[in-house]
């Protein structure tokens, strides 16, 4: 049995599905190296939508989970977000 409450692959899927809903794009077109702003045309409100969606969906799977506001500016790519969630949701 895994020691992690939620695996990285599952987090990537949650991020892809959430971005797909928010930005109205196909999940399959979203890759880890893409920048939210430069590649996916996400504006600040879309990013807040993503943060709230992740807090809700990851929280349901791994227990109470929050992305701190001061950490937001470090989350520039899909990979940044997945890594952040993996690290903090499995604390």
């Amino acid at each position: 049995m895994s020691a992690n409450k939620i695996e990285r692959d599952e987090i990537l899927q949650i991020v892809r599905d959430s971005l797909s809903d928010i930005l109205e794009i196909e999940p399959g077109t979203i890759s880890e190296g893409q920048s939210f702003v430069d590649d996916l045309d996400a504006d600040s409100l879309a990013l807040i939508e993503l943060v709230e969606a992740l807090e809700e969906k990851v929280g349901e799977r791994a227990g109470d989970f929050r992305i701190e506001d001061e950490d937001l500016e470090d989350l520039k790519t899909v990979r940044d977000a997945v890594d952040y969630v993996f690290e903090n949701a499995n604390d």
């Binding site: 928010i22 930005l23 109205e24 045309d41 504006d43 600040s44 409100l45 807040i48 939508e49 943060v51 709230e52 506001d69």
Partner: protein
């Protein structure tokens, strides 16, 4: 119908005009619920006490919109949007921070499935005719062509129900009437609009057409739309002030008094208070964004617009129109 949720603390002069507008709306037969601090009841005037949803915080006019919504979870704006989401209110209205109103509505009420981005639709007065609906008036500084097509769809539905226009004429704001005029975004959008069923697209329009009866819905990006809106508001204010100053001169007073019966209806038609504010289209519920300096009359009118849009079920109609063009 469910009550309209009023952000009691939004606006430059809150809560006084919000409370007075709420009481006037109740007198018009519209159910309302205030969203504000527990002690609001004590400030609720001599006209009786209205229902209250308690909220202890206020997102200020200069607070960061999205940050304010995330940090101030017990704010009047967030609680008003949650009241709509949770089925306690039919619509919300705020004269507070426009960006935060949009963020609260988007994050709590959610976006209509398939809508790329919500847009702010503002009626621009047209003397002697129905107003022109301008969108986007500031929600999205940068846009894509397919977003503008959705703005056209949503603006048409709003213009139809708000001003009883059977088949609203949609114009794309550009720098020339020909389809080849404008930047690459306008050219791409012109072609898409011309080929989207259900939109009565009349082609490109120019800024001078907005305040005429040549067009019913003016589609543009939020940056341009906001510049247009503020320019028109400032221009009209300047012209009206200059006219009033000229009329005030003793040698013209007699003539000015004779002209007033003709000019006052025009003044009313041009006043932002008459239309009660803008509407945020594309979110899953009715959200009215009133002017920060809204008077009690403006709030009353805005609450009336909220009621009308709920009764016309504009959200369901936009949902169906967006779904139809996606399939």
């Amino acid at each position: 119908m469910l009550p309209v949720a009023i952000d009691a603390m939004g606006g430059d002069d809150a809560p006084a005009p919000n409370l007075a507008g709420a009481h006037a709306a109740v007198a018009d037969g519209i159910p309302v619920v205030l969203v504000g601090p527990a002690d609001l009841a004590g400030r609720d005037g001599a006209n009786g006490v209205l229902d209250l949803i308690e909220a202890s915080e206020v997102i200020g006019m200069h607070d960061d919109p999205a940050g304010g919504v995330r940090k101030k979870k017990d704010s009047t704006l967030v609680r008003a949007a949650e009241a709509v989401r949770d089925g306690k209110a039919s619509a919300m209205i705020s004269a507070g921070n426009t960006g935060a109103t949009m963020a609260a509505a988007l994050l709590r009420m959610g976006r209509i499935k398939g809508v790329k981005r919500p847009a702010i639709a503002t009626p621009i007065p047209v003397p002697g005719s129905t107003p022109t609906v301008l969108l986007d008036a500031g929600a999205n500084a940068e846009v894509q062509a397919d977003w503008l097509v959705q703005f056209a769809q949503m603006g048409s539905i709003f213009a139809h129900h708000r001003f009883d226009i059977e088949n609203p004429r949609v114009g794309l704001l550009s720098i020339g009437e020909e389809a080849t005029k404008g930047d690459s975004l306008r050219k791409e959008t012109n072609e898409l609009l011309a080929n989207t069923p259900g939109i009565n697209f009349i082609g490109n329009i120019e800024g001078r057409d907005i305040m005429t009866d040549e067009v019913d819905v003016c589609v543009t990006d939020g940056f341009t739309g906001n510049v247009v809106l503020k320019t028109l508001e400032g221009g009209m204010k300047t012209v009206i002030s200059a006219l009033l100053e000229a009329f005030d001169a003793p040698e013209y007073k007699e003539h000015a008094d004779a002209l007033m019966p003709a000019l006052l209806p025009l003044y009313t038609a041009l006043s932002p208070d008459t239309y009660g504010g803008a509407i945020l289209l594309g979110v899953d519920g009715v959200c009215i964004i009133a002017h920060g300096s809204s008077s009690a009359d403006a709030m009353r009118n805005g609450i009336g617009v909220a009621r009308d849009m709920v009764e016309h079920d504009i959200t369901a109609e936009i949902t169906a129109a967006i779904a139809a063009t996606r399939s």
